[in-house]
Amino acid sequence: MSDPEASLSAPIEQPSVAVAEAGTARSAAFGIRWRRQLEAILIPGGAIAVSLILFGVFCFFAGANPLAVYASIDKAAFGSWYSFQNTLVRAAPLMLCALCTAIPFRLGLVVIGNEGAFVIGGLCATIVGLQLPNSSPLTVQIVMVLSGMAAGGFWILLVGALKYYRGVNETISSLLMNYIALALLNQAVNSWIKDPSSLNKPSSYPIPDAQMLQPIGGSLVNWGLVFGIVACLITWFLIQKTTFGFQIRVIGGNIRAARLAGLPVGPTIIIACFLAGAAPGLAGMVEVAAVQGSASESLAAGYGYSGVLVAFLARQNAFGCILVSVLLGGLLASGGILQRTHHLPDATTLVFQGIVFLTILYSESLYGRWKFFREGNA
């Protein structure tokens, strides 16, 4: 189609050819779509296979049988209903933390303040929850959820506002705010809300047992999983199906075009960042109110940083975040068994995570590399 006149005149003079061409174009488009979907499955699948081989080699050199290690990981993660529940408990905060990176990414921002928002959400929920010792459990829990989300949301909102109004790089500022959040947490549990009986590990006063979030119907799984799945679904709907989501995607695609079109760029960035931070804030609240029972340094267990990983592995897709979180949750749940049965240090799961992450990032550069997936003559 190098000659524009020919392409313009062709449909007018020969309508039948145009119809036929449209037909082939449609089947070609179908062919492209089919092949692209195959590419979108094969590349990450291949990357995971390669990372499994690499980690297998690593295990071999570490003196363990790779196949036995994989069998143990599978057993510890998905082997029984009990272990699968354990996996889901770990997957829930990952889903929520991943949204903190996935939502701003659509705006063109790379935010890695997940850990900070998680910690601040947990801390604020604890502080507020401790003020209401005599209220009904439901009231306390709702107030804690709201304060956790508000605190986490405000934390990432700051990052977005600094970016929009002052041009401060959002990646660096959110990273710094992780450390500031951790310092605030340590300061709080060592002075303002310190439980004097917690000597070895300074922590806050505990949330009364009656007010804790209870597991769902006799299982080990707590409400965090429901929150996580619902939040991912809402995020998907918000970004793909609403006007607000469309604004987010336009701003992420071309911020100048968004400005020229008169879209409210500033408010959209601020609101989206608030929502992004609210998710890990909620996860922090669940961690306190359903798992740990009080705020302490162990809130910063790395769920936030793993959340960044999940978001990138899921290619910033909210549905993908659910799936990847469950897989990574299983991997995290298997750390103990590797130590017990294979005498591998607990850092082995970190090595595994690193290898998987690096291989999948490498695979990003392979899209469009093979002509087969982009050819249309199916």
């Binding site: 660096i172 705010m177 500031i180 940083y305 970190l350 090595v351 690193g354 550069s365």
Partner: protein, 310 residues
């Protein structure tokens, strides 16, 4: 002695800050010089935290095995180079996000360091010697404060050397050209890929030495908490120093001093906000970034092509 603070009293605070600036600033200095070199070539390396941990572990392990801390320092640098090679190979491919690779390298490097370093947490490795500049004083606090690691002086020399390298040498110009205008550099016949790879690998070497300093001088032991985020803060520190190696030196001293603020104030009885004072470097960086950034133009001194594709 009615003074509970010690022989020096309140004078101890500035002395502790000064000593902390030199002692705690040295790892910042090496990591930030490495980051500065990398960023000058147009790429951000967020994964230096992983390099730092790997350098700390290898330095300590090799020092323990060979009995020579200096071989340990070299090993730390080489471990950094290996991670740098992986990082460079990944980030110089199309469509690969710098930040994501950085986080992955933190997990990967940290994981490897903790995995391989597990047997070395217990043993005591020979430490780097110190140069005692405080022998003129009878006060033990002054003497302790002026025990300085030779690596600090090496770092200072390196900062000035790197400044000269960027300003006055042919290779320095190549690095700057690749970081500012990769297209123009390519037109000059420079291989952007090669220059960036070498910059990232050399930068990681320096960060690895910074890691070895952590485990072999101060704090002087290997465990999983040996680094307190110096690797990631280096990125902020380089922005703070406006991509100038000599200013990286002053910024590192400032950050080292800020790190010593909490303990120093605690020693004179102001311990109430110990943990917040510990976070002083982070507040400082954020405040400086808020004060100096502008949404309408990039920072003066920033490499033109930073963070863009190959």
């Amino acid at each position: 002695m009615s003074n509970p603070v010690g022989g020096l009293g309140w004078l101890g605070v500035p002395l502790a800050l000064l000593a902390g600036a030199v002692r705690g600033g040295t790892p910042f200095l090496f990591v930030s010089l490495g980051e500065c070199l990398t960023e000058k070539s147009g790429k951000i390396n967020l994964g230096l935290e992983g390099v730092l941990l790997m350098g700390a572990m290898s330095g300590y392990a090799i020092s323990y095995k060979t009995g020579s801390p200096w071989i340990g320092v070299l090993a730390g640098g080489c471990a950094g180079m290996i991670l740098g090679l992986i990082h460079a190979w990944l980030v110089l491919r199309p469509n690969v996000n710098d930040v994501a690779v950085g986080i992955a390298m933190i997990i990967f490097g940290g994981g490897f360091a903790f995995f391989l370093g597990k047997p070395f947490i217990q043993p005591v490795a020979p430490q780097l010697p110190s140069i005692d500049l405080g022998n003129w004083s009878a006060d033990p606090a002054v003497r302790a404060a002026l025990k300085i690691c030779p690596l600090f002086f090496a770092g200072v020399a390196l900062a000035f050397g790197m400044h000269w390298f960027f300003r006055s040498t042919r290779w320095g110009m190549f690095v700057r050209a690749v970081g500012d205008q990769p297209g123009a550099a390519r037109a000059m016949g420079i291989s952007v890929w090669k220059v960036r790879t070498v910059s990232i690998v050399c930068g990681s070497f320096l960060a690895g030495i910074g890691g070895a300093y952590l485990s072999l001088f101060y704090p002087g032991s290997w465990n999983e908490r040996v680094s307190s985020g110096q690797g990631v803060m280096a990125v902020a520190l380089v922005i703070f120093a406006r991509w100038n190696p000599v200013e990286c030196l002053w910024a590192s001293l400032l950050f080292g001093g800020a790190q010593a603020l909490g303990p120093a104030l605690q020693s004179v009885g102001i311990g109430g906000y110990y943990y917040l004072f510990n976070a002083a470097p982070y507040f400082l960086t954020l405040a400086v970034m808020i004060a100096t950034c502008n949404p309408r133009r990039s920072l003066t001194g920033a490499p033109g092509a930073i963070g863009t594709g190959l």
